[in-house]
């Protein structure tokens, strides 16, 4: 005999299941449109890509691109500011709609989706003038102390290069991970580390902004990787909409204008097959 209690439990269970599953296929794009805002996770300590101005407003190359694309979609960007180490985990958990300035790697592409590239990145090595570094080749950096932004692709790249050094019986590069670029440079200025490794445009910007310090760009390290915006894999509609918005900024010349403004040069970026294998 089916008791009333069991029927109630069954009803409650199916209602819950219904609620949970019915919205599980709603793309983030639809939710964003309902909300009127685009949830953007961002770490604004990375000039010229994203940084805060004197009033605390978030600005920079990617920030302006986001504003342009969001406006086209009829949305306003709502920034969720946090240290980079928390951004990709949050994106994977579905806490944000998107995040800018991600290096495109094969590993990441398995777990998140990318829009079309917004920039090209090559990493570089920054040191103090007068340091004994010969070049930015990994062999010449063996045994040194390097500051990096914690959990970023430059840190992962250096970790991979350390295994190469080990194979050649050279001392590894000691890595120190900080939350912001400024902290990595402060660490070097305080002689806690010998070099800083990160995106070249960011380091170039740092030499300009910190003209009070004797900084010198030693050279590039690692290959060129595209930079794109990251979206959770479940939201393909959103990824497509963002990519369309970016294509529109290319067509209207806005992207080139922003590139000149923030990098001093323009780059041709691929729209297909840009994900490394």
């Amino acid at each position: 005999m089916i008791k009333r209690r069991d029927l109630l439990k069954l009803a409650a269970a199916s209602a819950t299941f219904g609620v949970l599953s019915s919205s599980s296929f709603a793309d983030a794009l639809d939710q964003a449109k309902k909300r009127g805002t685009l949830l953007v996770a961002i770490d604004p300590t990375f000039p010229p890509f994203e940084f805060t101005d004197a009033d605390g407003k978030i600005t920079g190359y990617d920030a302006e691109l986001i504003e342009a694309v969001a406006a086209q979609m009829g949305l306003k960007p709502e920034y969720k500011v946090m240290a980079f180490s928390g951004i990709i985990p949050g994106l994977i958990a579905g806490a944000f709609d998107m995040t800018p300035t991600l290096n495109v790697t094969a590993e990441r592409a398995k777990k998140i989706d990318y829009t079309i590239p917004t920039a090209a990145s090559v990493n570089a090595v920054l040191a103090m003038k007068g340091s004994a570094i010969k070049s930015s080749k990994i062999e010449d950096l063996a045994g040194m102390k390097a500051a990096v932004k914690a959990t970023t692709q430059p840190e992962q790249m250096m970790t991979a290069m350390n295994t190469d050094l080990a194979k050649k019986s050279l001392k590894p590069v000691q890595l120190f991970g900080f939350e912001t670029i400024e902290q990595t440079i402060a660490a070097m200025a305080d002689k806690r580390v010998d070099i800083v490794v990160d995106d070249k445009s960011v380091l170039v910007e740092a030499t300009v902004k910190r003209s009070d310090l004797p900084l010198v760009l030693v050279g590039e390290i690692g290959g060129v990787t595209p930079i794109a915006w990251g979206v959770n894999k479940a939201n393909s509609k959103l990824t497509a909409a963002l990519s369309d918005g970016l294509k529109a900024t290319k067509a209207s010349g806005k992207m080139a204008e922003l590139q000149s403004k923030y990098f001093g040069y323009t780059t041709d970026l691929p729209e297909k097959d840009f994900i490394p294998k």
């Binding site: 949970l20 919205s23 500011v81 949050g90 400024e182």
Partner: protein
């Protein structure tokens, strides 16, 4: 060289950020006291499952770092389809964490209420519920007010962790200013002062309430 202009220019931003800190502290504090009191009563209720539940809650909250608790709450909410709730997640995590410590505080205070009062109320015919509400709890809360205030100060001091889940409060705002101003002392000193100030206000408020409550009884 101390750049006092920078410090002055940063003050508006820092003041605005401290409202986030204060809101976090107040909401998490309220949640913490409510949860802690319920949990303490559960432990003293004599009912085994309630007691076990409360003990498990306290053990879990005290045995794991708040940092990890914040992350787990933040990463779980989207799974149950709650979107864009970083501030709420922070309030919940900090409140839950602090509630475990409040449990112990309130439990001790409830046990310290003289049995005579409870027995007298019972003899007069008041229900168990009314006894709790009108006799035991008011006295208990008054007794543990200093300890509760100390716990609220700890809640205040744990708000910087909320920045890990994108709640930009006072400390992280300082990090952001540091990242474009390239200097630390002009920013972190005012921030330290800010926290001390808020803590002092908490202390004064608590002393005021303590005095008022003593007057009444």
């Amino acid at each position: 060289m101390f750049n006092s202009q920078l410090m002055l220019d940063s003050l508006p931003l820092l003041a605005q950020a401290s409202t986030v800190t204060i809101k976090l502290t107040v909401f998490a504090g309220i949640l913490s006291v409510v949860l802690g009191t319920l949990s303490a009563m559960a432990q003293l209720s004599g009912q085994a499952p309630l007691k076990w539940l409360s003990r498990a809650y306290v053990s879990l909250m005290r045995g794991t770092p708040l940092f990890v608790q914040l992350l787990v709450v933040f990463l779980t909410l989207p799974m149950i389809k709650i979107d864009n709730a970083a501030f709420e997640a922070a309030v919940i995590a900090i409140g839950l964490n602090s509630g475990a410590y409040v449990t112990e505080i309130v439990r001790g205070a409830i046990m310290a209420v003289p049995r005579g009062h409870v027995e007298a109320a019972d003899a007069v015919g008041l229900s168990k519920f009314t006894i709790s509400r009108k006799i035991v709890l008011p006295q208990a809360l008054k007794t543990c007010l200093p300890a509760l205030t100390a716990e609220m100060t700890i809640v205040l001091k744990s708000t910087p962790l909320a920045s890990v889940i994108s709640v930009t409060e006072l400390t992280y705002t300082g990090v952001l200013i540091q990242s474009r101003a390239f200097t630390a002392i002009e920013i972190f000193l005012p921030i330290a002062m800010g926290y001390i100030l808020i803590a002092q206000i908490l202390l004064r408020l608590s002393r005021y309430f303590e005095a008022r409550l003593s007057l009444r009884s």
